[in-house]
Symmetry: D2
Subunit: 138 residues, 4 copies
């Protein structure tokens, strides 16, 4: 009924964009979210898989890079499929509907790689009515 997630973390790798058979853009990346440090423990993180569709997929693919500090808003989705050994595998992902770049570039400039011409590309309802979890090409 209500399913909302907000994460801040860093990309573990460059994002990967693919297309569904129907030609819809999907971008996948993983966010490393550091857990609050507890004494006597080394630093730990949760590695959370993010999926963005359509226009949001494209802007993520164009502007995000490994290591970038990023805020993601979305919802948890759990899908399952049968693997090649006939076993059911469950995959949990966050379907993003809002992504914010929080990093400055190494030279200190602010998000210089973001095209000025884009009319806030970060708007996407994240609820594509004709796309189901099973359309994911990975």
């Amino acid at each position: 009924m209500l399913n909302r997630v907000i994460l801040i973390g860093r990309l573990t790798k460059d994002p990967e964009m693919r297309y569904t058979p129907a030609g819809v853009a999907v971008t996948q990346f993983t966010l490393a979210c550091d857990r609050p440090v507890s004494q006597g423990k080394e630093k730990e993180a949760d590695f959370i898989n993010i999926v963005a569709w359509r226009q949001l997929a494209e802007t993520c693919a164009n502007h995000l890079k490994k290591g970038r500090l990023t805020a993601v808003e979305g919802r948890i989705q759990v899908r399952n499929y049968e693997n090649n050994e006939g076993k059911r595998v469950y995959v949990t992902e966050v379907i993003a509907d809002n992504v914010k770049f929080l990093d400055t570039n190494k030279d200190g400039s602010q998000r210089a790689d973001r095209p000025d011409t884009a009319r806030d590309p970060f708007q996407d309802d994240g609820k594509p009515i004709d796309i189901s979890p099973d359309d994911l090409p990975f």
Copy 2:
């Protein structure tokens, strides 16, 4: 750095409480969160695993039942282990730190099974410093 989840859904089964070898209470249950309905699709839900520790584990075990409408606040945790075939398995769960019972009972009374004597037992910081994902007994 920041990792927050808020869910409202219904329990798919009665919760299960266990204890770690060190004697810490842990309760596990699954929340069915209906996805927004899209036309031409049958109703779908995400089934999200919830974990509660300690006092929150006990109140969840005592007061939640299959079918109950429940709000859960917490953070996403991803842990992994090697299964008996030597393969790494990834498990995603929501570690609850706040759980609210939203249901009235069938007879219309409000949460009659909740003991009056408890001074809001639903307060728990959910961040037990001496417990790690690997302590989970399931």
Copy 3:
């Protein structure tokens, strides 16, 4: 950049729907959100003003009533105006983009007043591009 609120509480009164001069529906109501009880204190609540626009305004006006347990998702908005004494007054509201009715009716039935025919009327992007805080008719 990111501004997200999730509340669960009860309506202090019946909601009020009005129209802007341009004919857009707006509904206003107040949610009483109980604070976590602390010992030695009587029970306290925060009374938070909610605003819903357009279709969401209409479904809120039709289905919510005083006392109903309700979940609201939205964003904080702060607007200001000059009062009749020439003083600037600041008003903080939550602009809802998702509202869930959590209550059963008194007779135990589930949300019987909600028309079956409506294709989830609770979808609204809450971001009406041609409406500004100053359009509020109250």
Copy 4:
């Protein structure tokens, strides 16, 4: 019952720390949260007042400055008082329980002003049991 806010924005001024008569530290600052840009409108922001107590108050006062990009997690609180003209004034604030510094310093270094010796000072339950909204010294 549930009351959660997550904001990302920039400080409009340096934070101000004070003490209650009982000697408890409180820090106040304002976050400018840009609204999603809509065409035909100049850029707008919501200016949201944040309050942090105790240890979190001190780390905010020490490490935040005007202009810093900051994530705040907390809950909405509405308090009211009678002003000097005998009128009831309502004040809405976000009581922070988690604050993250998202900015690098001007020289490109990462949060160099944060003392290494502090064992994550950003943990605070934000629910001081002996403090009420009326204790605020501003």
